[in-house]
Structure formats: C-alpha cells, structure tokens
C-alpha cells in the first residue's frame, strides 16, 4: 500500500471532523440568529409608529399616543452627565495604572477593584446611588444623583479601554521624551495622550452605550414615570430635576400603562436598542479604522 493513500479510517476521521466543525458552526449561528430574528421582529412590530415625530413629540393621551421626546432627552442628559464625570476620573485612573503604578500590592488591589466594580450587579449600584448620592449627599432624586450612579457603574469601561490604548503606545516614545529632559507628566501630556486619544474615545463611546441602556441604577435615583417638558427644548431639564429616561419609559409603558397600542413599546425598545447598537457600531468602526492606520 502507498504510504500516503487514504485509508477507510482516515476517511471516517475526516467525516467526523466535518461534523464537528458543522456542530460548532451551528452553535455559533444559534447565538447570532436570535439577535437578528429579535431585531427583525421588533422592527416589524414597531414600524407603524416609528418616525421622526415619534422621537420629537411628548407622550399624549395618558401615554397611549405621541412620542418619547422627554425620555430621549432625559437619557441624553443622564448619559452626558455621567460621561463628564466618568471620563476624567477613568482616564486619570488608567494613566495611573499604566504610567505611574509599580508592580505592587496597591496596583493589584486597584486592578481587582476595577474588575469587581465591573462585576457589581446593577441593582447594587442602584442601592449605592440611593444611599450615597440621594440620601447621604442630600442630592435627592435628581439627574445629578442618577448620572453619578451611572458614572460609578461605567467607570471600569473607560478605565479598561483607556489602559489598553495607553499600553499600546510603545515604551520607546516615552524614553525618547524623558531623555530630552521632559518630566513624567510632560511626557504623558505631549506624547502618551496624543498617541492614545483615539483609543480613549472608543472607551467613551462604549461608556455612552452602556449608560444609555441601564435601568436599574436610575430607577431609584432620578428617573420618573412622567414629566411634562417642552417639545424640542434641549434645555428643558435642570440637573436637580428628575427626568424620564428611555429605558425606564420602556419598563413603565410595558408594565404599568393600560391600553398602550403594542407598537409604542416596541418602537421605544427599537429606539433604545437602535441608539445603543449605532453607538456601538461607531466604536467598532472607529477601532477598525484605527487599527488600519496604526503607525508603529
């Protein structure tokens, strides 16, 4: 027999391998399919009311008609405020971890704390926000308290992605800078940050998408069932007001408001989902673009 001739044995092995590959492929598809089916179905159900008007009008006739403007605006407020708070702290924490911290117990504890902060259940964050911001700091239920809660919750997202982008700046850049006599901070400001700013932006985008979707942390810290705000007025909320939010609105109209036509909650879900997915798509596209033009 020729040494490389196919035997029956190897044929069956090959067939088995095809089966296995097929099985794994099916498993992967089984994860993806629900995503597509669900989005498709929701789009179909939502289509009757989905329009620009839906986004820009306030709810009418006991939330049975009209749009979602106050909720949309509230979500924008919450997300922006949480970003304003979380971005500097997160970036500085990442700079500390990547540029300053030595390999010691403190650094390890910080790393562990970041992982833990990311893993704390959202409802526990809500309890924290209620205990610390609403009650202890005396902010009351307000946009401020809710967005601070969101900021603490989303901090790990920013820390992790900024740290990654800082770590991607080659050490040689820093050394070159130090050797011309720059201080550590000058090096960071002139060399490290400019070279990793795009990675930070990806982190911010991810933070926004995460904060926009959360419900539990804002439920007890600043989201209301209904608030009448002027349509089209971008400055309709004060930071000490409570606000409506998309995620909370979806929850209330699907559990509490009677006689809502089915299309409205579906459309609200689609707007929320669409917002989050589009923001995410931005972050992904941005990442791919960055990878393609990396200069080192």
């Amino acid at each position: 027999m020729h040494p490389f001739q196919e035997t029956i044995h190897s044929k069956s092995r090959q067939r088995k391998e095809t089966y296995i590959k097929g099985l794994f492929c099916c498993m992967t598809i089984a994860i993806i399919i629900p995503l597509i089916l669900i989005i498709g179905y929701m789009l179909h159900e939502a289509s009757p009311v989905l329009s620009a008007d839906f986004l820009l009008k306030a709810p009418e006739r006991g939330m049975k008609a009209g749009g979602i403007w106050p909720a949309l605006l509230g979500t924008i407020y919450l997300v922006m405020m949480s970003l304003i708070v979380a971005a500097p702290i997160g970036v500085m924490a990442a700079i500390y971890l990547n540029e300053y911290a030595g390999d010691n117990w403190l650094t390890r504890t910080v790393n562990l704390a970041v992982i833990n902060l990311a893993g704390v259940p959202s409802i526990v964050h809500a309890l924290f926000g209620l205990g610390a911001f609403v009650l202890f700091a005396g902010m009351g239920k307000s946009i401020l308290a809710a967005s601070l809660t969101l900021a603490v919750m989303t901090l790990p997202v920013i820390i992790t992605s900024t740290k990654e982008s800082l770590a991607a700046v080659p050490m040689a850049f820093r050394e070159a800078c130090w050797n011309v006599g720059a201080t550590k901070w000058q090096t960071i400001r002139r060399v490290v940050i400019p070279n990793s700013i795009s990675g930070m932006l990806t982190g911010f985008i991810l933070e926004v998408s995460r904060a926009a979707g959360e419900t539990a942390p804002i439920m007890f810290t600043g989201a209301v069932f209904y608030k009448a705000v002027e349509e089209g007025n971008l400055f309709a909320y004060n930071l000490t007001d409570q606000c409506m939010a998309l995620s909370m609105h979806l929850f209330t109209i699907s559990t509490q408001v009677p006689g809502v036509p089915e299309a409205i909650p579906f459309a609200t879900a689609i707007v929320l989902l669409g917002t989050v997915l589009v923001i995410n798509a931005f972050s992904i596209a941005f990442r791919i673009y960055l990878r393609s033009r990396k200069r080192w």
Binding site: G138, M171, N179, K184, F225, T240, D241, T255, Q256, P258
Partner: protein
C-alpha cells in the same frame, strides 16, 4: 528604559525640595475648592425646590394605580397652565406617603387612606397636618382569561384562592374547566407586596390578619397583571377596572357564596354594592397654597374629573 526612569527620578527628587511647602498650600486650596463646589451645589438645589425661577415645580409621587391618572392630569394641566411643570413618579402608596413625610414630594397619591401613625409622623416632621382629598373611586376587578367559563366568585372563594392555607388550587374545584388550560392549576397573579392594590385586596378579601399564599406571580404594574391574564388561560388576577381590555373577562363578585353578585362598574361602585371598591386619595402637607392649590382645585374641577372618568375610574361627579 533605565535611563528614562533614572532621569525621571532625578527630576522628582529635585522637584520635591521645591514642592514640599507648596504641597500644604495646594491641598488646602483643593479642599477649599471642594467646599465651594458643595456649597454652590446645595444653594442651587434649594433655589430649585423653592422654584422662584421661571417654572414652578410640583412633585407628585405615590400609588401605581393612580400614576396613570396623575400622568393624565399632569399632561393636560401643562396645556392649561404652562408655568407649572409636574413630575409624576409611581412607586406605590407607601412611597408617596413616605416622600410626603420626608418632604420630597408636594402631593402623595394614595390608593389607601393614610394610617393614623403616618399622619402623626407627617405632623411631627413638618408641623402640618396632612390634608386629605378624595379624587374619585376605583373598583378592583377580578380578571380571568376570556375563554374562562366562570362568571362570578364570592369573597370567600377568592380568599381560599389567594389566602395562606387556602383550599382552592384547581379550577375544577370551582366546577369548571378552561379550554387551553390543561394543567387545571389556578395561576394566581398578584401585585408586588408593597403596592396599595396589594394591601387593599388583602384587606378587602383576606382580612387584615391573613396573608397571601406564597407562589403567586407578583407583577410590577397593574397593566402587567391584565396582560398576563390575557395571555394565560389558567390565570386569575386583580387590578383596577380601568385596566380592562376586550381580551379579558371581569368576574362579578358577591359578598358571600349564594348572595347576589355585582359586576365592577360605575353604578355598582357608587351604589357601594360592588364589594372591592375603594376611594382614591390625594394628600398634601397642610392646606395647599398658590400653584399647588390651583392644581388640586383643577383636578377636583370638571376638567380634572372628566379625566378621572376617561382613565377608567369613577369620578366624584357621577
């Protein structure tokens, strides 16, 4: 790498000499800044609560049963008086009362009356007696699936279905079979344990002392109850009659087995023949003044009462 670190350390050491003194100064500056930050934050908050600015804020919290009514009021009042902005949050009667006691809401919506102890607490905290208004009435309807052949139940039967150690667990024990419900099990749909609806149903059906049987599906909102009953042939649930849809059936309720049963509707609620009906309250701290008074008066007026009817409750004018 080594050189870089070395450089850096040198610089650090040099810097330290100059900086030691500054360190103390700068930390006190920061502390000062932080204090200013807190101070300004506090003042802005009180300014807003006093709302001397362009818009007056009325905060409205409480019963989930009334949250839709309160929302409809707020929505329509915004058209009548654009100077006033009303925040409506649900959370339940207990929350509304608690918020009133804490002073974090102007109006508490309650689907049960304030207890004497709560009234006392409010008085102790603010020095004012809570002022009670009855805004309308609500009948709690008992819902079943539209294919369910059952027409009426007595309060005792309801208690045996819902109460702790209750004896009725199967539909066949009520002498019926429901198409589409093969398991024959009665799926009890209830409300989560701190809602006013939960408390009132317990009081009216089970009595003060008896608790619910565990294992009921405790829904977050009244609408969820009706929707679940609508989709579940085996289910029974209770909710305000305003939540009825064409897809569910409301049972007639009798006080005792064999007595005449009444349907939940406006007439029977007013005649007080329907046994599970309750007034809907609004509380404020002390006699309301200014914008708040105007708002409450408007709610009690013809426009406000029309909204009560439209929202599926029974208005005072009926």
């Amino acid at each position: 790498m080594f050189l870089g670190n070395f450089n850096n350390q040198l610089i650090k050491k040099m810097k330290l000499k100059h900086m030691k003194q500054l360190a103390r100064n700068s930390s006190s500056i920061l502390l000062g800044l932080a204090l200013i930050g807190c101070g300004s934050n506090n003042t802005s908050q009180t300014a807003n609560q006093n709302s001397s600015s362009s818009k007056t804020m009325i905060q409205n919290a409480g019963s989930d049963t009334m949250v839709n009514l309160a929302q409809a009021w707020a929505e329509n009042y915004a058209k009548v008086n654009s100077e006033v902005s009303i925040e409506v949050s649900g959370g339940g009667s207990g929350t509304g009362i608690a918020a009133l006691i804490n002073g974090t809401t102007d109006i508490a919506n309650c689907s049960r009356a304030m207890k004497a102890a709560e009234q006392q607490k409010a008085k102790d905290a603010s020095g004012k007696d809570p002022k009670e208004y009855i805004m309308g009435y609500d009948a709690l309807a008992v819902y079943v699936h539209k294919d369910c052949p059952l027409e009426e139940l007595s309060l005792e039967q309801l208690a045996e279905i819902y109460g702790e150690n209750g004896t009725i667990t199967k539909w066949s024990e009520l002498g019926i079979t429901i198409p589409g419900c093969t398991s024959d099990e009665i799926i009890r749909v209830s409300r989560q344990s701190s809602s006013g609806t939960f408390a009132y149903f317990r009081e009216a059906v089970l009595g003060e002392e008896r608790d619910y049987k565990l294992g009921s599906r405790d829904m977050h909102g009244s609408k969820e109850v009706v929707e679940l009953v609508q989709n579940t042939p085996c289910a029974i649930g209770y909710s305000g009659m305003g939540y009825a849809t064409p897809e569910v059936k409301m049972l007639k309720i009798s006080k005792t087995l064999g007595a005449e049963a009444y349907a939940p509707n406006v007439e029977n609620t007013i005649a007080k023949t329907y046994p599970i009906a309750r007034p809907l309250f609004v509380y404020s701290l002390g006699e309301p003044e200014g914008a708040l008074k105007n708002y409450v008066d408007w709610c009690l007026g013809p426009e406000g009462q029309r909204i009560v009817n439209d929202s599926g409750y029974v208005s005072l004018t009926n």
